[in-house]
Symmetry: C2
Subunit: 373 residues, 2 copies
């Protein structure tokens, strides 16, 4: 018997810097250097930033794609691969994604395949992508009717985060980004949670064009990467605190016919998961109230007719199947810290209806109404 | 700036064992365990081993594909992904390749994509695959007219090598496998080279159904994995001694219209690279003669009308482009050891014609004629 050892050690930097596409800014040209570059943008980004991009990277090939969360597919990935081939990209050349999570996903999978992996750079243009979807190494596309069935783990060469790009992002999408920021804060960063409580609503109102934006985005990125780096390739199991808010949310999104955005589903999931935490005795009522109040303060719903006991039960089964048989439900045990409920036995049958009743009562008694805008 | 560290440490075993598909052999069932398995075979393997496979793995889904080195494509990969989806494979389930390098390649890329990477097992059925194409972590398919343009680095879960499966392999294909074995021997294992000199021709004659087969296959695998493990993901540059015989051979194959098999092109390349070694003064004439005699003794050609100075010069340029600008020509400096000629400056213009003349003279003066069968 012969044992083959496969060791890999790579790193990349996520740089937060304003004015990336302003005249004279050299961050993006420096990231490219003398190499060939294929830049992939969607129509919306092209309309907003196309001219500035072409001025910043005059020698790059620009490819405009039309993609949504529902239509991101392996065909879109292969179209990027085809353009990479036509642009003559070699093993050290570069693909650059400028856009939201979908564009980052498609580019990440394409770059992982071209010549068994060429470098790629992400320039996320939505808040969700800047703090979550665009800064990690996981990319995936839908296939054969299954969401994210095909994908890869491909570390980017670099991620460039520019908060000024958020000026045109809708309030609804900013709230979705704040849901992911709240996730990081609740499970590992109490100081970041305080910032979200204090500055979150104003940041939405000012589209993150505010001095308070930097520390919130930086804090979220630091937390996200800190967590990811513990288990970058998910070789060390599926107990991941970044799955907080991601046990019930996939099924919620699906059952809403994707009228619910990912971040909105994550907010509902965090509210329920925290309520479960109270019911199983690991989170105190005051901390739960702070979580629910913070989410509603951001304009995120914590209750929905979609959230029912049977749906929660189905989602738990599905999550366990996805996590190698273990539920690994992430539940905060205080603000800034989380525990795992390893198996479904840890959530007795009576807990789900009581958790839902608790949330409904809180909304009725204490919280203002809210809606998606 | 936030730095993200991505560490990966994995290993897999290559097990050499006879009678894998014999009744009562539990190696393959044990590798699958309780998991679902999709087995991918080509028509030739299905005709030879289909019944034994179905008896060995009665619960597996068997997928029969029609593939050649020229037609292996991303579409074939996606067809495997589609079958994996239909078979309901989860993140811990398994795809099993039973076949030559092409089937192993396609399965390796498919498995790397499904759910961002699921386990796969290789059961290589050709000598080339048993000592080279089927035991590493690199997989690739052709795309947009370019050979191996898309691919991945995906370590298998396990490789099961059964020399009895070689009984039906043609002499020509066995010679191609021996070319890869000679490669490993020449650059790092003088004892293995002696075995090839002594036993190689008889092993071809007996289709490796001989006690001498085990040590030769084991030695080649040990050398190949030992070399690969130094730089499994090619993150540490492109100076790789396993590229011996792989600088001129890709263009030779292409210029032959793929009538030359890969191993045959590798043999021509090794003969030329070694002759270059003599001309630049790093390999002595006696060791060069041993290499040439060993290759011809196996029935491998060391001269061809295809091997011309302009072709060698073009191939060197192309290899340098593929190796990040550096030539990194691998040249043995004695039997069992190799050096790198880092840049084209190390091969002055007069060297190529003199190396070719040296080979031609050796063939004319000392060596028996030979042909492909």
């Amino acid at each position: 018997m012969h044992r083959m050892q496969c060791e890999s050690s790579r790193h990349y930097d996520v740089v937060v810097s304003e004015g990336l596409l302003s005249a004279g800014n050299e961050l993006l040209p420096d990231a490219v250097g003398e190499r060939r570059a294929l830049v992939v943008v969607d129509h919306a980004v092209d309309a907003l930033h196309g001219p500035a991009l072409r001025r910043t990277l005059p020698d790059a090939t620009i490819m405009v794609v039309e993609l949504t969360e529902q239509t991101k597919s392996i065909e879109a990935v292969l179209e990027v691969c085809r353009q990479a081939h036509e642009a003559g990209l070699g093993r050290r050349d570069l693909i650059i994604a400028v856009g939201g999570g979908v564009v980052c996903d498609v580019v990440s999978v394409a770059a992982s395949l071209v010549r068994r992996g060429i470098p790629y750079v992400c320039v996320p243009t939505t808040l969700v992508a800047q703090v979550d979807a665009g800064i990690g190494l996981k990319g995936a596309v839908n296939f054969a009717g299954s969401k994210s069935f095909l994908g890869s783990f491909a570390p980017p060469a670099r991620v460039l985060v520019d908060p000024t790009l958020l000026a045109t992002v809708s309030a609804r999408d900013l709230r979705c980004g704040l849901a992911e920021i709240a996730k990081v804060a609740i499970v590992r960063d109490a100081a970041l949670f305080e910032r979200v409580e204090r500055d979150g609503a104003a940041l939405v109102a000012r589209a993150f064009q505010d001095v308070a934006a930097g520390p919130v985005i930086e804090g979220a990125i630091a937390g996200m990467l800190g967590e990811l780096s513990l288990n970058a390739y998910e070789e060390r199991g599926y107990a991941r605190s970044m799955d907080f808010g991601h046990t019930f949310s996939p099924l919620l999104e699906e059952c809403s016919g994707y009228t619910l955005r990912h971040g909105e589903a994550v907010a509902l999931d965090m509210a329920v998961s925290s309520a479960i935490g109270v019911e199983i005795g690991i989170l105190d009522v005051a901390d739960h109230a702070r979580i629910v109040t913070a989410l509603t303060g951001l304009g995120l719903a914590v209750c929905s007719p979609l959230v029912t006991v049977p749906l929660l039960a189905s989602a738990m089964e599905r999550a366990a199947a996805h996590r190698d048989g273990d539920l690994n439900l992430v539940v905060p045990d205080r603000i800034g810290s989380a525990a795992f409920v390893k198996s479904a036995d840890g959530v007795p049958p009576a807990v789900l209806p009581r958790a839902l009743a608790r949330l409904t009562a809180m909304r009725r008694d204490n919280l203002p109404g809210h809606h998606h805008t």
